[in-house]
């Protein structure tokens, strides 16, 4: 038996083991994480935006797994992001809600889901993002002011600045990260 045949045989055996254990190729691609956060039900095509909004830039520690266009009963197709070794705080969850309003956040400890929550866009957003209208008073560094936005629409995202009335969309939010 030559080297190529050995390799083919090895791959066949490995596939069979996977089938016996009930694992498809898909489950191998998005494997379970020990500790961290799974962001599920991300609107298809927005996984990379979630990565961006969380400030994950490839230089941070921990494994980050991204799955795109995964079949979903609820959404048809969805994206999933798994972040090893990091539990998202409420402010980060709010940020995700801005661009993926249907997402669910699963906090994983020792391979088990210990907390599961659907992101929810609040009706008022404070401090998370800035107004993209440069002359808005909320952009003044000299004033004790926190940007405040009223959520007028989730999809498409529509935010109105409390101070200057400027309207912002998803692209205006993404520009800030």
């Amino acid at each position: 038996m030559n080297a190529e045949s050995w390799e083919t045989l090895f791959m066949r055996i490995l596939q069979n083991i996977c089938l016996v254990l009930g694992m498809s190729r898909r489950t191998l691609r998005v494997s379970k994480i020990r500790d961290g956060t799974v962001i599920d039900h991300i609107t298809s095509g927005h996984a990379l935006n979630v990565i961006k909004i969380l400030g994950i830039n490839g230089r941070s520690n921990g494994i980050v797994t991204i799955a795109m266009n995964v079949p979903s009963q609820k959404l048809g197709v969805k994206d999933i992001v798994k972040v090893e070794g990091r539990e998202l705080n409420p402010e980060e969850v709010n940020r995700i809600a801005l661009i993926a309003p249907h997402a669910t956040i699963n906090i994983i400890r020792n391979f088990k889901v210990v907390e599961k929550q659907r992101v929810k866009l609040p009706s008022i957003i404070q401090g998370t993002i800035k107004c993209t209208n440069p002359p808005c008073i909320s952009n003044s560094e000299n004033e004790p002011v926190k940007p405040i936005f009223y959520v007028e629409g989730e999809e498409p995202l529509r935010l109105r600045c409390h101070y200057c009335g400027h309207i912002m969309g998803k692209e205006d939010v993404l520009k800030q990260y």
Binding site: N133, P135, C136, I137, S138, S140, N142, E143, P144, V145, R160, C161, H162, Y163, C164, G165, H166, I167
Partner: protein
């Protein structure tokens, strides 16, 4: 019977809703409240000719972080006409802002001296921000390119006085609709009435998305690049200046400038009862030859501004009896 209804609704609003109130945006007011304000303004007409002491002992602070002639003088004259006193400054260089004091601190200091604050500031949203810190009422006298609500109230008053009504009118706003704070406030104000709005401007200076969407949700609005195509239709033409500095390319400015000048030649196609308004200062967007025609009403606006501001001050400081 039907003509009595608006009047009855107007009377449902009482002077008490104005006491201690901030005037930040036209959007904070209902039509009934604006109607009520305009009615009180008409009652102020005789007082503007003489004087009164209904605000005796009251102090108004004018904090003008941007230059102003008309608005500041108008507020001050209104206060003096009603027997009140005025303190304030007209340039940030003359204030502690120069030492680095911020707006939040400034209004918290000034409120200790005054019963109300009239604020003009270059930042958009500055009046709303100041009102959150001040314990006394804040009147927005211009917040950057955002809004100038008292100008809109006096514009409405002028239209009402000159045309006898606002409902049913076709009104064109022309010029710099993007950066013109007076047109933003006026567009909101006109959307409280059954008006049809024509927005005439160069492409670059089209009205802001948020204003257009809000106004368009209430009344019919159309956008145009040329005044001549709609001039025969309209009852009121509100002109603002196209500012050269808004154009990144001077050639583009030179190209469009001539299309936004109103002179006798352009007005040949206008209705005979058209009125022309302008928030002033005017530069060359209305030729001086128009001043002596029956179309011109912009100097009457100035006088109307006095009575509208007298009404507002008296209402906010609780000097108008039910």
């Amino acid at each position: 019977m039907s003509y009595l209804l608006p009047l009855m609704v107007c009377f449902m609003v009482s002077a008490s809703v104005f006491i201690g109130r901030d005037v930040i945006s036209v959007k904070d007011f209902t039509r009934e409240e604006v109607d009520y304000l305009l009615r009180i303004a008409s009652e102020m007409e005789p007082l503007a000719e003489s004087s009164s002491d209904i605000l005796k002992g009251k102090i108004m602070a004018t904090l003008f972080f941007e230059p102003s002639t008309r608005t500041k003088l108008s507020f001050e004259a209104a206060m003096y006409k009603l027997g009140g006193l005025v303190i304030g400054f007209s340039e940030p260089e003359a204030s502690s802002m120069k030492k680095g004091e911020n707006l939040a601190d400034t209004v918290r200091v000034v409120e200790k001296y005054a019963d109300m604050i009239v604020l003009r500031h270059p930042a958009e949203g500055a009046a709303r921000f100041a009102a959150e810190y001040a314990k006394v009422p804040v009147i927005n006298a211009g917040s950057g390119a955002e809004e100038h609500p008292t100008q809109a109230f006096l514009d409405l008053y002028t239209i009402m006085k000159e045309k006898g009504r606002i409902d049913g009118l076709k009104i064109a706003l022309m010029g710099d609709l993007r950066y013109g704070r007076t047109v933003h406030s006026l567009a909101y104000a006109l959307s409280l009435y059954k008006t049809k709005l024509f927005l005439v401007s160069p492409e670059l200076l089209r009205i802001r998305r948020e204003v257009l969407e809000d106004v368009n949700a209430r009344i019919e609005v159309s956008e145009h690049s040329n005044i001549e195509e709609i001039l025969p239709e309209i009852d009121v033409l509100y002109v603002t200046r196209i500012q050269k500095e808004r154009f990144p390319d001077l050639a583009e400015y030179t190209k469009v400038r001539g299309s936004y000048v109103i002179d006798l030649n352009v007005l040949r196609r206008a209705r005979s009862d058209l009125i022309i308004l302008h928030p002033l200062p005017r530069v060359d967007e209305i030729a001086s030859e128009v001043d002596s025609t029956p179309f011109a009403r912009y100097f009457q606006q100035v006088k109307n501004g006095l009575v509208v501001r007298m009404a507002l001050l008296a209402l906010i400081l609780g000097a108008v009896k039910e």
